[in-house]
Amino acid sequence: MAKTKTLAVLIAFFLAAGAASAAPAGKTASVPAIAGFTADDMPYDAGNALLLRWPDGQYGADTVYRVFLSTAAAGGWVHADEFKAADREAKAIPLPFWAWEPLPGELAVKLEIGALVGELKSGSDVKVKAAAYRNDKLIAESLAVTAQIRGNWFRLDRLNNLILLTVIVIAFFWAVSHAKRKGLFIRRIAGLDAIDEAIGRSTEMGKPIFYVPGIGQMSTISTIASTFILGEVAKKVAAYDSQIKVPHYDPVVMTVAKEVVKQSYLEAGRPDSYREDLNFFVSHDQFSYAASVDGMISREKPAAIFFMGYFMAESLLLAEVGSTTGAIQIAGTDVEHQLPFFFTACDYTLIGEELYAAGAYLSKEPMLVSALKVQDLGKLVVMVSVAVGGVLVAVGAKMNWDNLVQVVLTLFKAY
């Protein structure tokens, strides 16, 4: 009997010791509870974070909070976060006003569970608690709260983006369905008008045309636009019976470009002139590509060079070498910090959106041309928004209407 009692006492002692060691550091006797501590699933995320909230100002500005979490897999309490009260105000949660309403004087913490205890299944229970410390001494602790993490199905914070997209999509379908056969005015783009001149020059001189699609992948919009232009250029090259060479950086782009050029030769009625080696792979390294294409340009002295697509530092390396050979150079890219190099080294440069519009401009397809209207509409919307928004923010700042300023700024923010 005495032996059983001793065993029970020993077990109780070890259990108590275990519980004490699992508790947050610094815990001593019973301390006041942090009032109003809640934990919920973080809204609008993939299901790997919790949102903890509690009222601030209970224990003074020098309070340091520590947050602990526990899951079935992790076992004991895991130290999840530590911060001063002022660093986690509810209004600092990066969500817009239509998706998140921060209460004044409230603390809010977004707790990324995955980074702490690994990925959990949707619906998993996570136990959390917060403890307040002053001078490293525990002064209050919340009750442990259990919350479930869940994957959400809609990013409400991106509603502004979705509305803008919906407007553009509606305008897009309206413009395409009202595509006119004739009579839609398109501003003259000198760089595209010069394509005929460049190809004609090449034919007269008996020298090749180089079409450089840059270092973008097939998922890059400028590379996609470049393949459309390549199709139109190749059609003219085939019609004039001139020669085109397309050195590639990306093998996927090369495969697509091969099909595009082949199709252009077919449409021009010159399938016999098409050769598989018109498109060729050079290198998947930026400077190796630039060195190789520079070498070819220097040796072959082409009559015309097109730089259309995505370019980085190699833009000037290519364009400057092309310039020294005396070739007509037409460039187009949407990388705005490379545009100055093309401006100075090339005869014509397509700026960003002109590159995207080039396919429609050259092909004159009514539906494609009509879609350009949508770009203009989009720009009009942006211009009006910038003007109205600018005035509202300026007036709001002058009159100290902080709420108005915040609303206007939030409307145009990306989340």
Partner: protein, 222 residues
């Protein structure tokens, strides 16, 4: 046949495109997994396409050597360079360091590849000078604006220019630093943002044209 050649690719582009678009608004794990899956597929397609690219490179340069095409000697270096990198890579299992020792691949990377890449990048400096010279030949009103802005920026970056500015225009109370800051943060940013807004809208419309099959030149015409 027409279904396989025309409609099936269009349907695939539309479905995949719309799902990718939707994934931007759907944070759920299924959506994240779908995007990851697509990225994996892209990598797989790229790997096969890379083999095609390599084949294209070898065929093209072999043809040049065989036909003794102008500059065929350079084509030999393509093969030499390829084997110089590939053979040590195979021997060292693709590692640049083994037990603290630099392997043949590591040596080639450090002392050949990196040196050559750095050289190409350094050449850029010389080209910038020649481009700047060309920009400074004022042929139009726009070129004059470009020249003035660039001249002020260059002036402000050298001590001599700063001293010259202070002695000539110091009485205005506007230091060259303030002028440069204004140029960089007002007209330069305004121009850049204008271009970026146009690009963003153009990109959306281009994406819509491809997703909804309006732009399908990549498929050819029937």
């Amino acid at each position: 046949m027409k279904f396989i050649k025309n409609y099936l690719p269009l349907a695939m582009v539309m479905v995949v495109g719309l799902l990718m678009l939707a994934s931007y608004y759907i944070p759920h794990k299924h959506s994240v997994d779908y995007v990851e899956l697509m990225n994996k597929w892209e990598n797989i397609v790229f790997a096969f396409a890379f083999l095609l690219g390599l084949l294209s490179l070898f065929v093209s340069h072999y043809g040049k050597i065989r036909r003794r095409h102008d500059g065929w000697g350079y084509s030999i270096f393509v093969f030499v360079g390829f084997f110089i990198m590939v053979i040590p890579a195979l021997m060292s299992g693709g590692k640049q360091m083994i037990d603290g020792q630099v392997t043949g691949l590591g040596w080639s990377f450090r002392y050949v590849y990196n040196a050559l890449s750095a050289t190409m990048f350094a050449v850029l400096a010389f080209y910038i000078v020649s481009t700047a010279y060309r920009s400074f030949r004022i042929k139009s009103g726009q070129a004059l604006v470009l020249f003035i802005a660039a001249f002020i920026l260059i002036l402000g970056k050298v001590p001599l220019g700063q001293m010259a500015w202070e002695s000539v225009l110091g009485w205005t109370g506007y230091g060259i630093d303030r002028v440069i800051e204004w140029i960089m943060s007002v007209p330069a940013v305004a121009g850049k943002r204008g271009i970026m807004i146009g690009i963003a809208i153009g990109a959306i419309v281009t994406a819509l044209k491809i997703i909804f099959g309006i732009e399908r030149q990549y498929m050819g015409k029937d």
